[in-house]
């Protein structure tokens, strides 16, 4: 190795870290902070632009939108004063105007009022479905986890089988055989969407069973029921609540599809799906507004709920993301 000492001494000091030369002579000295620069290079997959802060703004936008929609869904029909079911054959299929901001449908009904009334129905029905689905799934999953052994395996096979049937198809079959009531629609959605919740609750129960404190409690004389209440419920409830919120967009989607096909809610309880279904013929006659505005309401509410749910999911329970897969 050449004599590095002489090399360095004769090299001119550039704007490099001049500490090298100076301190070499002295041997000690207070460190001048070197000139740091980023080593990042533009490569495929390296992020450009800030990602931070975007998650929060999504939540705010989502929550704000949902609140606005919910308030509108309640207020607009009420403030409108008019019955959105009012049929007026002199105002059939009018394009949007000042008097009818969303236009009118094939029976002369104002679409703004009808749209929000329909949204109200859609959201209520979806909420009911989500709750029933969660309860069903939670019970199923808890039972499966608590029982263990072959009942557990059997129940999980049932879950796999239900999952193998396309949701809408099963829903259609159920509704076809029980047609005519809101209950049928709720049942059809609930009976097809409980499997995700069941899986999550079951895995939560299983992981709790592994924990020694459960065994300790049981051997200490606590009844199974008490263990269930004190330890299982606090773990399951937040998961279940999150599942309910995450199910809402799916329930709305499913109910809308059924109603669109004419298999869903009865016409006097019109939801967005019914409106879209009825509007289908009108579109062919050129009245584009009859489907556009209800569809916009639908998409907006789905986005809003999805945004909130996504934020909650990422914040509260990051490890469950893969399992939820809803």
């Amino acid at each position: 190795m050449a004599d590095r000492c002489t090399e360095t001494a004769t090299r001119p000091h550039g704007d490099r870290d001049s500490r090298m030369g100076a301190d070499r002579a002295v041997g000690l000295g207070s460190p001048a902070e070197p000139r740091w620069r980023s080593a990042a290079r533009p490569r495929a997959g390296t992020p450009r632009g800030r990602a931070a802060g975007r998650a929060r703004s999504r939540l705010v936008a989502g929550a704000g939108l949902l609140v606005a929609l919910a308030v509108a869904a309640v207020l607009v029909p009420w403030l409108g004063g008019l019955d959105e079911r009012l049929v007026d054959y002199t105002a059939v299929r009018l394009p949007p105007s000042v008097a009818h901001p969303f236009g009118t449908d094939a029976q002369g009904r104002d679409l703004l009022l009808r749209g929000f009334a329909g949204l109200q129905v859609s959201l209520l029905v979806a909420a009911a479905c989500a709750v029933v689905s969660t309860l069903l799934g939670a019970l199923f999953g808890a039972a499966s986890g608590v029982l263990g052994g072959w009942p557990d395996r059997l129940l999980m096979r049932v879950v796999d089988t239900v999952n193998a049937v396309p949701h809408l198809l099963l829903g259609i079959v159920i509704v076809a055989l029980y047609r005519g009531s809101v209950l049928a629609v709720i049942a059809s959605i609930a009976l097809t969407h409980w499997t995700g919740v069941a899986r999550i609750v079951r895995s939560e129960v299983l992981s709790l069973r592994e924990r020694t404190f459960v065994d300790a409690a049981i051997s200490g004389g606590a009844s199974r029921w008490r263990v269930l209440r004190r330890h299982l419920l606090p773990a399951i409830v937040p998961q279940a609540a999150l599942s309910t919120v995450l199910l809402l967009p799916h329930a709305v989607w499913h109910e809308t599809a059924l109603s669109f096909l004419g298999l869903g809610l009865p016409p006097h309880l019109a939801s967005i799906g019914n409106i879209l279904g009825e509007g289908r013929a009108a579109v062919l006659l050129g009245s584009w507004w009859i489907v556009t505005f209800p569809a916009l309401l639908l998409v907006a509410s789905a986005l809003a709920v999805a945004g909130i749910a996504a934020w909650w999911r990422d914040r509260a329970l990051p490890r469950r993301r893969s399992e939820l897969g809803l």
Partner: protein, 327 residues
């Protein structure tokens, strides 16, 4: 036969064996639902004539069709019918169920294949570019659009597409397989396939794009990509021939798990476009409470899901030498 081929063969065999009880359970489920249904099955048989039929006729028909027998007897009869190729008669279509299925299934397969091709094509291109320039304008647009469109049902897209392309611009036909009264020809079918296939494809794209993008971003952070870069390969080679192949492996499996959504999409798209496929038959059968048709279609749809999932797993086993094919 190489050991690998044998492994894959065993996987297929195992899955097929597992499929049989699942299908049987689904059939049983449908029969049970029907048994608890408030609809009297004899009405399905008679249709509107039920009001003019005499009591004796109704009773005789019930006897003949065995509608008073227990659920499991009916199920057993149906299952043995399936094994001999007789799936019952569809009232809504006035034809044997098997014939309806045979006539309509090919059209659905055509639509679904075309739609899937559109979806995969779009998603691959958009997802790759989005991951390549992560955080850039294209990526942010694609991600936002993907999330936004996940909530849009296919029939909304279909109606918008019809309004814009078929009615507004009059570029493409509105519905059906052929123009009214026209003979069945390749050109006719192709023209009528465009819009439904595009709508079905676009409706499945959002989820696919987001997954490809995520998968590719993950792959780009892995050691083997760094190794490829360290060897001095161009960025294009690194992304397309090292990162993308590994990123597509989980994607193929996930595609298999999305068959249910594809079936659902087909049901909605076929209905709006009056495409004469098997999925549209579901809706017709449901509206008419045509039980033999519903039972057959439920089992068929489940079979499709199982087969799709199996195909995806086989594809992964073939493509990825690391995977152990154990079903």
């Amino acid at each position: 036969m190489t050991p690998r081929t044998r492994e894959i063969g065993l996987l297929v065999a195992r899955r097929l064996v597992f499929a049989v009880p699942v299908l049987a359970v689904v059939a049983a489920g449908v029969f049970l639902l029907a048994a608890a249904s408030p609809f009297d099955p004899v009405y399905q048989y008679y249709g509107v004539d039920v009001f003019t039929a005499t009591e004796a006729d109704l009773a005789a028909t019930r006897e003949r069709l065995g509608l008073d027998d227990g659920v499991f007897e009916q199920l057993g009869r149906w299952l043995s019918g399936v094994l001999s190729g007789d799936l019952g008669t569809s009232r809504a279509f006035r034809q044997p169920v098997a014939q309806v299925v045979a006539e309509r299934l090919p059209w659905t397969l055509l639509l679904v294949s075309a739609g899937l091709a559109v979806a995969v094509g779009l998603a691959l291109v958009a997802g790759t570019i989005a991951a390549w320039r992560q955080g850039g304008l294209f990526d942010r647009t694609v991600t936002a659009a993907g999330h936004a469109m996940e909530g849009i049902p296919p029939f909304v897209l279909a109606l918008v597409a019809i309004a814009v392309f078929a009615l507004g611009l009059a570029w493409l036909p509105v519905a059906g397989l052929t123009d009214a009264g026209a003979a069945l020809s390749l050109g006719q079918v192709a023209r009528h396939l465009v819009l439904p296939a595009l709508v079905l494809g676009v409706s499945q794209t959002p989820w696919l794009v987001l997954h490809i993008r995520g998968s590719l971003l993950g792959a780009l952070g892995e050691d083997h990509v760094t190794g490829a870069r360290a060897r001095g390969l161009s960025e294009r080679t690194v992304v397309l021939r090292h990162a993308l192949p590994t990123a597509l492996l989980p994607f193929v499996t996930l595609l298999g798990t999305r068959i249910p959504e594809l079936v659902t999409g087909a049901v909605l798209v076929e209905t709006v476009f009056s495409w004469p496929g098997i999925a549209e038959a579901v809706v017709t059968a449901a509206l008419a409470v045509d039980f033999p048709m519903l039972a057959a279609l439920s089992v068929l749809a489940t079979a499709a899901v199982l087969v799709g999932s199996l195909l995806a797993d086989v594809a992964v086993a073939i493509a990825d030498p690391r995977v152990v094919a154990d079903g």
